[in-house]
């Protein structure tokens, strides 16, 4: 590590003899270094050693091997990955659920925030806001439990309501129909994170100058015009920024959510539409013990994510919008 510090710190490396070098200066401010070093060491262990562990993707891990010391096999794992017949299905599910969340799931908090901003009763507004955060603070375990209860075919509230309204004659088995799972994943995600995801837009709206609205009033703007031309315009940079970040995470499905809704992939009826990259890696890499294969799949996922993030950022930058970096 010491070598790396020198390399990335040209000032430290190029100091003349008269001036104290990097280490002498660092020791001089030992108290400040002491605050930083525990965190850096932990980061090294828990974030950088796993990056080194990626070498497993180019090896054939056998039980008992020390990770990273197995036999080298080149791109064998990657070839096996791309020939795996599960891969198209897993990719399809991941992209479908991510696509739904990135579009409908992304727009909902914006709509909520914009309409919340229109409320004139401050007490009611605060109250709804506080309640809307509630589901964010509970675990997916609890969420799944509530969903199982509310969507149950045996007197579940949703089925009772739909039957009461005469919309269906038979209760819908929400957790036994694979064709409903994508919708279920989307709706439960919106339910849980709507309020929380709206905070950032609400705080962006709070920064809008009140005079803008007054000026618009004088010009005779309608409410809709003000919402569109002032409120939405004010939060546009935030929208773009968050969208970029979400695109970068398109292959990161919500592992907790999928695992909980499928009873840790123990529900065979849902497997066809619910198996996403992360659950697939977990099953193959950990549960089935194909460590090298799982690592290779994880590496491909990270790389695609990284490329997508850069691409989205470049597009936003070119379009003259606020880019992430």
């Amino acid at each position: 590590m010491g070598v790396m510090i020198k390399v990335t710190n040209p000032n430290a490396a190029s100091t003349t003899r008269k001036q104290p070098n990097f280490f002498q200066r660092a020791i001089e401010q030992w108290d400040l270094q002491l605050l930083v070093i525990p965190g850096i060491l932990l980061l090294f262990v828990f974030s950088y050693i796993p990056i080194y562990g990626l070498v497993m993707a180019f090896q054939e891990y056998r039980i008992g091997d020390f990770p990273g010391q197995s036999e080298w096999v080149g791109f064998k794992q990657f070839i096996a990955l791309f020939q795996d017949q599960n891969l198209p299905l897993v990719l399809r599910n991941t992209l479908a659920i991510s696509g739904l969340k990135l579009t409908i799931g992304f727009v909902c908090p914006i709509i909520f925030a914009v309409f919340l901003n229109e409320m004139s009763n401050q007490t009611l507004k605060k109250g709804i806001q506080t309640i809307s955060y509630l589901p964010h603070f509970i675990s997916w375990t609890v969420c799944a439990m509530l969903l199982f209860d509310f969507l149950s075919t045996d007197g579940g509230a949703v089925n009772e309501m739909l039957m009461g309204a005469g919309l269906i004659s038979q209760p819908i088995g929400f957790f036994s129909r694979s064709d409903l799972f994508w919708g279920l994943a989307l709706v439960s995600d919106i339910w849980k994170e709507l309020g929380w995801n709206s905070i950032i837009f609400i705080s962006a709206m709070a920064g809008v100058d009140a005079e803008m609205y007054e000026a618009a009033d004088i010009d005779g703007a309608t409410r809709a015009q003000k919402m569109w031309h002032i409120t939405i315009k004010a939060i546009k940079p935030t929208i773009v920024l968050l969208f970029i970040m979400n695109v970068g995470g398109i292959l990161n499905q919500n592992f907790d959510q999928i695992m909980m809704l499928t009873k840790q992939m123990g529900n065979p009826l849902l497997k066809e539409t619910a198996n996403v990259i992360d659950t697939y890696i977990f099953q193959v890499g950990i549960s089935m013990g194909r460590a090298s294969f799982g690592t290779a799949a994880g590496l491909v996922k990270s790389l695609i994510n990284f490329v997508l993030l850069i691409a989205a950022n470049t597009i936003a930058d070119k379009a003259g919008e606020n880019a992430l970096f």
Binding site: T8, L34, G53, F66, M145, S203
Partner: protein, 310 residues
């Protein structure tokens, strides 16, 4: 904000058709969000406080029909629940406190411009945000560190959180430097400056990050699921997980509790399982549900800091 509203009233702008569409949509959206969010919780609360045999008849909405605390008495006579609750509390308190100190110290250090190697450290922190080793290598690392099946697997790997670090760093940067300078003149070292001077004036960000760490530890099921096999080290989420995964788990809990209170609410197995499930669920979310509204003004501010481009 209120200024805007007042002006709108004063002006008495004539409403057009689209205004009514917006008002009606607003009422519908807010009602749907309000009901859809709150109803499941109130319903579960009512069921957990309702007589188990009565619940099976259906029709419980947000008030218990035959109020009882029997369901809670049953779960709290179950030693598994006590153990799990203890583990959850222990990991939340220790995890949040230790995480705050380590992540906070890192954030404070990086917020000081005179930190030697600041550029390198910052870069070192940024890389893991965009690229990581993934699940399998991390799993092997935890195994090889000997953390498997120990309480510390909850704490040590989660001491540093980069997102939280960045939020804290932005906050410390916004504190006037004069605070540090005057302390330096008085001969205080940076440890003192951080813990005695910056820490007390940073309540909003500390409350926010404590909440983030706390919620993570309270709700996490993944670490106990793959790194813990000792049942005595399993937290509440694992109990809930068992209830979800195994239909008979709640029944067994109900039966174990009923053993201690013979003759009380021990019939109607199916119903008991549901009542027990709800009571366990309510018990597990209660502390966080009570705490978060009080920390609201802090985390709203925390997110606002985070939304400023770093």
């Amino acid at each position: 904000m209120t200024g805007v509203k007042e002006t709108r009233h004063k002006m008495k702008v004539k409403k057009v058709f689209s205004d009514y569409v917006i008002i009606v949509s607003m009422v519908i959206i807010m009602t749907v969000v309000f009901v859809a969010t709150l109803y499941p919780f109130l319903n579960s609360l009512a069921i957990s406080f309702n007589n188990a045999d009565d619940t099976i008849l259906g029709g419980i909405t947000i008030f218990p029909r035959i109020p009882t605390i029997a369901n809670y008495r049953q779960i709290f006579t179950n030693p598994t629940i006590w153990m799990a609750y203890g583990i959850t509390f222990a990991r939340t308190i220790i995890g949040a406190a230790a995480g705050l100190v380590i992540t906070g110290a890192l954030a404070f250090g990086l917020s000081r411009k005179n930190l030697e190697g600041r550029k390198f450290y910052t870069f070192f922190c940024l890389i893991p945000m965009y690229f990581g080793g993934g699940l399998v290598p991390t799993y092997f690392l935890i195994m090889n560190l000997g953390l498997y099946d120990t309480f510390w697997v909850y704490i040590i790997p989660n001491l540093v959180n980069i997102w939280n670090m960045i939020l804290m760093r932005s906050y410390f940067q916004s504190v006037p430097d004069a605070l540090e300078e005057s302390a330096r003149i008085d001969g205080a070292n940076y440890l003192t400056i951080f813990f005695k001077i910056y820490w007390p004036v940073s309540t909003p960000i500390i409350a926010t990050i404590a909440l983030y760490f706390g919620v993570f530890h309270w709700n996490d099921w993944f670490m106990p699921n793959i790194y813990i096999s000792n049942p005595n080290l399993k937290p509440m989420t694992s109990v809930l997980l068992n209830i979800i995964a195994e239909a008979s788990f709640a029944e067994r809990m109900a039966a174990a509790g009923a053993g201690a209170f013979v003759g009380e609410a021990s019939h109607g197995k199916e119903t008991n399982a549901r009542s027990i499930t709800m009571a366990t669920m309510i018990t597990s979310i209660l502390p966080i549900v009570i705490i978060y509204p009080f920390l609201q003004r802090f985390f709203l501010k925390g997110i606002m800091i985070g939304s400023i481009k770093g």
